[in-house]
């Protein structure tokens, strides 16, 4: 096909626009776009802002429920947590920037997700982070890990929002493309939520926050492009975070939100002024006219193109009630922030940009938004891997405890203390359950209730069976909430995948969504917000499919909160749910036998629901002293974690002592600790609920012992468990 436009073909391509996409711009405008307009289209139509490959599939996710106040489509999702309170939350990726500059990339990722939350009128109360790095001995891993953790802490600690949890995995598929997903939860009043739809013809459009510099121009375009070996050259586009200014912006916005002044508010995230202004106009079905000369600038001689595409951090756009400008200006001045009326709402339904009296752009909003490309990309679904039977000859002579030590010392199962001790996880003085348990539990300030939060995903499960993997990611968060004594309410997601133009990758995406949909539906656990990050590839190698899930639940009475720590000696420990010994794709195979083989475990969602409800019933009746879901690593790893976090040991004396039993990853299981006097009640209750419970052992001393097999002191196990991160990062 020949290029028939006046605009330079390579200029269009360097903006990440395909030929037919450019054709439809020309058709929509009735002319060729100028340079600024080209930049705007490129920012709006890239994958990151337009969701062009994923939109069709995302629509299939269940997004409604009794407690859903706001589903996907706004800056964050909102759920009802009783008494007129709501929780506002979302997770977002900052993968590519973090690979290029780990500290600033991760820090600005935290800054960005925080703004999404307080834009809605919520005070952020908790941060979490889901991290994925390449294999530890890859030359970049140490630098990336240290930088990312420091950056997350640097931003969250400074602004004074506790970082209460997260997850971290190492796998070679992330060698050239790490994942940094940040989640924030905020609390607001249900009748004081702020939205982004602009309204009121003639109303002032106001810019607040930091000045605009040449930061991150083309950041959003970069996030949608595959990496290659030249990506180091793209470095100068990285933006620097300023958590101090964000703290001021947070306080100033919340202060102004107490007044009846804000009609619409939108943070400037990816594609800065472009996406924020267009989103506000599109949601309100109005036009906007902006005088770019008025935009506070940090650098000299900035062009319209640069102003529109800058990704300078810590900025917001608002539509105010007319006449409220001076009152609002005073608030922002008090907090030493920029405040400028830069335009007005119009009825033209066009985005009009002027600079020095000259029109720099005029684009009908609907072309930018509704006419944005949407693809139903081809996909192929791989045959899931088959069953795997362990070869008894590979079991060598090691004891079960020897294998446990190997597993708990491994980067994927060892203690994450080195990470969370760099995060202030207690500021705001409401963190009831700190990192290191199943879910983090944060009290709703000034009340007797709390929210529980957990992020999870098992990329290996997703790789070898994307449908079951998608189910699993959702269910794992659900179990973590349940084990903490919370009623699971809803999730946010961060869909990290490779290049969607490859049918195999698109197949992984489609299958994960299908699995998530099924799990969310049966568990009544809808999706209220999310984010998609595609093209996570380096030199043609995609990452493992990684649909990171963040779940939020409600604990109505904080005295019912459960942690994984054993509480006393001589309690009985039971496994809830059936143990069959599924070793395919397990941590045991991967860590001890260095194999990635076999099938992903299958989740029976109805049993899952039943088992979870049973746990909540035990919590409700004050029967469970502690609870922990059995996840990666299997039953013995879960039991050991309960010991490690309490110092109280366990003597296991069940009849079966196979590796399958101890390390299998059958789904839908929990460990619970009950007082010996409640044994009969437990048995009766489990029978009533039709739930399988199996006696595992008794808490005792400071030793983990498998009767007639092997044992280890908790102290020795702890030394092994705590070692890896400090040694690795030294």
């Amino acid at each position: 096909m020949t290029w028939e436009h006046k605009t330079d073909q390579s200029l269009v391509e360097s903006h990440g626009l395909k030929h037919d996409e450019f054709d439809s711009i020309v058709q929509g405008l009735g002319r060729e776009p100028n340079f600024t307009e080209l930049g705007i289209f490129s920012a709006m139509w890239n994958e990151h802002c337009s969701y062009k490959s994923s939109k069709f599939w995302l629509k299939k996710l269940p997004t409604t429920g009794d407690r859903v106040v706001q589903g996907p489509g706004e800056n964050a999702g909102v759920i009802d947590i009783d008494d007129g309170d709501v929780a506002v939350f979302k997770m977002e990726s900052h993968n590519h920037p973090s690979y290029i500059e780990p500290y600033q990339g991760a820090a600005t990722g935290v800054g960005g997700i925080l703004r999404d939350i307080f834009t809605m009128g919520a005070r952020p109360v908790a941060n979490l982070n889901a991290l994925r790095f390449g294999e530890p001995n890859h030359p970049k891993t140490k630098h990336l890990l240290s930088g990312v953790v420091e950056g997350i802490g640097g931003y969250g600690n400074c602004i004074g929002i506790p970082t209460v949890g997260g997850e971290v995995n190492f796998h070679p598929s992330y060698n050239g493309n790490i994942l940094v997903n940040a989640m924030t939860v905020g609390i607001a009043k249900k009748d004081k939520i702020f939205y982004s739809a602009a309204a009121g013809i003639g109303n002032p459009v106001v810019y607040v926050g930091s000045k605009t510099g040449r930061d991150g121009i083309h950041g959003a375009t970069m996030a949608s492009a595959e990496f290659d070996d030249d990506s180091e050259d793209k470095k100068p586009t990285v933006q620097v975070g300023d958590p101090f200014t964000e703290k001021l912006l947070l306080e100033a916005c919340l202060e102004l939100m107490k007044e009846q002044a804000i009609i619409a508010i939108q943070d400037m995230g990816a594609a800065g002024l472009t996406s924020s202004s267009i989103e506000m106009a599109s949601k309100g079905n109005v036009g906007l006219e902006i005088d770019l000369t008025k935009v506070p600038m940090r650098a000299s001689n900035m062009t319209a193109y640069e102003l529109m595409l800058s990704e300078s951090q810590e900025r917001m756009l608002m539509v105010l009630e007319p006449g409220k400008e001076e009152m609002a200006r005073n608030i922002f001045k008090k907090w030493d922030l920029e405040f400028e009326v830069i335009g007005k709402v119009t009825d033209t339904k066009n985005l009009v940009l002027n600079m020095h009296g000259k029109e720099e752009a005029c684009i009908p909003i609907n072309i930018l938004v509704e006419d944005a490309p949407e693809y139903q990309r081809d996909y192929t679904v791989r045959e899931p891997a088959g069953e795997y039977q362990i070869d008894p000859n590979t079991l060598n002579s090691k004891t079960i405890i020897d294998d446990l030590v190997i597993m708990l010392s491994h980067p994927n199962l060892c203690s994450r203390r080195w990470i969370w001790e760099q995060y202030d996880h207690m500021v705001m003085a409401d963190t009831l359950v700190r990192p290191g348990s199943d879910a983090a539990v944060v009290r709703v300030h000034g009340t007797n209730k709390a929210i529980a939060i957990s992020t999870d995903c098992s990329p290996t499960y997703c790789k070898h069976n994307s449908f079951e993997g998608g189910k699993h990611a959702v269910v794992e968060t659900w179990r973590n909430l349940v084990a903490s004594g919370a009623l699971p309410i809803a999730i946010t997601d961060c869909m990290n995948f490779g290049n969607p133009e490859k049918p195999e990758i698109m197949g992984e995406f489609v299958e994960c969504i299908r699995g998530m949909t099924e799990a969310c539906t049966i568990l009544n656990y809808p999706v209220v917000s999310g984010n998609v990050s595609l093209y996570n590839e380096t030199n043609g190698e995609g990452i493992y499919p990684t649909p990171a899930i963040g779940g939020v639940g409600l604990i109505k009475d904080i005295s019912k909160t459960k942690t994984i720590a054993f509480k006393q000696n001589n309690s009985l420990v039971y496994a809830v749910g059936e143990t069959k010994g599924h070793l395919g794709n397990s941590q045991y195979l991967s860590i001890v036998q260095h194999k990635e083989l076999g099938s992903t475990p299958v989740i029976d969602l109805n049993k899952e629901l039943k088992n979870g409800k049973f746990i909540l019933e035990l919590v409700n009746q004050d029967l469970a002293l502690s609870a922990h879901d059995i996840g990666e690593g299997g039953l013995l790893v879960a039991a050991a974690e309960m010991s490690l976090s309490s110092g109280i040991g366990i003597t296991i004396d069940c009849a079966i002592k196979s590796h399958e039993f101890f390390f299998g990853e059958d789904q839908g299981r929990y460990l619970i600790e009950i007082d010996i006097q409640n044994d009969d009640t437990l048995k009766k209750l489990s029978a009533d609920h039709g739930v399988v419970v199996e006696y595992i052992g008794q808490t005792k001393d400071a030793v983990i012992e498998i009767k007639e097999n092997s044992k280890i002191s908790i102290e020795e196990l702890k030394n092994n468990h705590e070692k890896w991160f400090p040694d690795f990062t030294k």
Partner: protein, 223 residues
């Protein structure tokens, strides 16, 4: 009981300490914006933790030049009890109300965890409960440093308020979280009415949050 909490841009433990004071004393403190220049009659002034001015330049440096600081110094010199917690400690050091300096943790990392401290001076109103107390630290620059002359002076003059120790009160290298000289966690001025400490007693006023030992520090002033 009247108390005051100073609020700087970037303070973020101001609410926490206000809640703690109200919990212990029954009355809420008045929050004082840093641009104010006077503080009414007060039984306790708290310079709270956080990241005033983002910790930019040097922790506490910019806040120590705020308008309200002259008044804090004046009140402190007049004998009003003043507590600087974490960043508040750094600010008081920058005002020269307290001796020494707080430099980067020897690990060069931010550290957030529970530690134990032991009162060394038992005559001040903040330390007269002579018990080992558990509470969190959360800081980047809590490594107490002073010249040997200064160290000698504050030791001789009974100005060391707390030292880091283990759960049994043993002061040793293993219980020093940040490299502070002689495990110093908090110090007093000459007069013993101004306390600066790195640990956060306001985060330790409820067992549900892990400890309520923070009360030992506040009780002497608030009751």
């Amino acid at each position: 009981m009247k108390s005051h909490v100073i609020v700087f841009p970037g303070s973020n433990c101001d609410r926490d300490v206000a809640v703690a004071i109200e919990r212990i004393s029954g009355s809420a403190p008045e929050m004082i914006w840093h641009k104010n220049t006077s503080i009414a009659e007060s039984d306790l002034i708290v310079v709270p933790g956080g990241f005033s001015y983002g910790d930019y330049l040097r922790c506490g440096a910019i806040a120590s030049t705020s308008p309200i600081i002259n008044e804090v110094v004046k009140k402190a010199k007049a004998g009003v009890p003043v507590i600087g917690i974490c960043n508040g400690f750094q600010i008081l050091i920058e005002t020269s109300l307290l001796d020494g300096a707080l430099i980067r943790n020897n690990s060069l990392s931010f550290i957030c965890k529970d530690i134990y401290i032991k009162p060394e001076n038992t005559s001040s109103i903040f330390t007269k409960n002579n018990v080992v107390a558990k509470m969190p630290i959360a800081h980047n620059e809590g490594n107490y440093f002073a010249t040997s002359d200064t160290i000698k002076k504050i030791n001789d003059n009974d100005q060391v308020a707390f030292r880091y120790c283990d759960a049994n009160g043993l002061i040793n290298e293993g219980s020093n979280p940040n490299g502070s000289i002689d495990n110093i966690a908090g110090i007093l001025n000459d007069n013993k009415n101004v306390l600066g400490l790195m640990p956060h007693p306001e985060r330790a006023v409820e067992l549900g949050l892990g400890s309520d030992d923070g009360k030992y520090i506040f009780e002497g002033v608030l009751k």
